[in-house]
């Protein structure tokens, strides 16, 4: 499955996705109100404990953090040379806490669970013209289409490499776009052929109000 999720049975894995996302949301806002190195260091220890409790394999965590390091090191060096190292340490610690918290949620929550939370959270938006079931249908479609499109892109890349055109952006994008546009008609017909109706007619006797 195309996802960063790592299966497990810890209490963090089992916690409802809504709770985890809410904590992440509040936590990330709170982080920017605190500027103290000891507090951030304590948070780091706490998060390390949570990672330990979630029994995540080191490999996955390290891989997630490696890309973050590419950004954190220049930011720290920037502060060392331009402002001062205390501010740099504080900034880097804060970003690290934020990233680790987010990585923890990402690694322990199934994307499908998060989509369900989103659909529930989007329900009040119905009053401003958003259709939550359509939105989650589209999300599911994207998840289904991504591996398909990546395969197409990979094929085009290989084909153009054989022609020596793999360094030509137009030669890569144009075939991918043509395939996309051709697919769109077939897919929408296939979806409707299976009885999907984006705006189902609600019988008069079921309408409220």
């Amino acid at each position: 499955m195309l996802s960063l999720y790592v299966p497990g049975g810890s209490f963090i894995h089992r916690a409802p996705a809504a709770v985890k996302l809410l904590i992440l949301l509040i936590g990330s806002a709170a982080l920017f109100m605190v500027s103290s190195i000891p507090v951030h260091a304590a948070e780091l220890v706490l998060i390390a404990g949570l990672f330990h409790a979630a029994r995540l394999p080191w490999r996955d965590t390290v891989r997630q953090l490696r890309t973050a390091m590419i950004l954190l090191i220049p930011i720290f060096l920037f502060h060392v040379f331009i402002t001062d190292w205390v501010l740099g340490l504080e900034t880097v610690l804060r970003i690290l806490v934020l990233l680790l918290l987010a990585v923890l949620v990402t690694l322990t929550t199934k994307p499908t669970e998060m989509i369900d939370v989103l659909e529930a959270a989007a329900r009040p938006l119905r009053h401003v013209g958003v259709n939550p079931s359509k939105a989650s249908m589209m999300l599911s479609m994207v998840i289904r289409f991504i591996p398909m499109m990546m395969r197409e892109a990979q094929e085009i890349l290989e084909a153009q490499r054989a022609r020596g055109l793999d360094r030509n952006a137009i030669a890569l994008l144009m075939p991918l776009l043509i395939k996309t546009l051709k697919m769109a008609d077939d897919l929408s017909e296939a979806i409707e052929a299976r009885g999907y109706d984006p705006e189902p007619v609600v019988p008069v006797w079921r309408k409220k109000g």
């Binding site: 987010a102 990585v103 589209m138 999300l139 991504i146 499109m149 776009l177 929408s188 979806i191």
Partner: protein, 180 residues
């Protein structure tokens, strides 16, 4: 919104993700590598228009936030959105919308040069206006310094806008989707 519209929105979100497959380009006289992925942002706006293009990128960003590794280099997750470069990713939603808005408004007079301009307004200026202050706040940088650090990406971004304009013009001639 018809089923066909929904399929287009989903396909262009997937297309933006699939652009992660293409390796970054190294153009002469351009210091930073050119990542193909933000061409997807401009293409969604210039081929689908404002509403569908913006929605398509909204779906893409939501899926990145939910933890699918869709960004170039197989990055993803909530951490990327909250991190120093998160503003650049979030800005893709209004970026596609703005490109699409101009394309809809000037659809009948669209040519390579004004489409290039619209791609630069939406796909470069909107992205920088959101991304750079975000970087400055998260990384505790001075705004001017964050701006200066980002200028090395401008030449590459303009090349991307030109590629997107060239491709979208071909699509407009053969398969118009905004005012069919």
């Amino acid at each position: 919104m018809t089923t066909r519209d929904m399929v287009f929105v989903a396909l262009f979100a997937a297309l933006t993700a699939a652009c992660a497959v293409f390796p970054p380009f190294q153009a002469p006289f351009v210091p930073a590598p050119i990542i193909v992925q933000n061409i997807g942002v401009m293409l969604a706006g210039s081929i689908l228009g404002a509403k569908r293009g913006g929605l398509s990128l909204l779906l893409f960003v939501v899926l990145v936030a939910l933890g699918l590794p869709l960004l170039t280099g197989w990055k993803g997750g909530f951490g990327v959105i909250l991190g120093p470069t998160g503003g650049f990713i979030l800005s893709w939603i209004p970026a596609a919308f703005v490109v699409g808005w101009f394309v809809e408004k000037y659809w009948h007079r669209l040519n390579f040069w004004n489409l290039l301009l619209f791609n630069v307004i939406g796909g470069v200026i909107v992205v920088y206006v959101i991304g750079i202050p975000w970087l400055a706040v998260v990384a505790n940088m001075e705004f001017g310094k964050a701006l200066a650090g980002s200028t090395i990406f401008i030449p590459g971004d303009v090349i991307k806008a030109a590629v997107a304009a060239a491709v979208a013009m071909i699509v407009k001639r053969s398969y118009p989707l905004v005012h069919a």
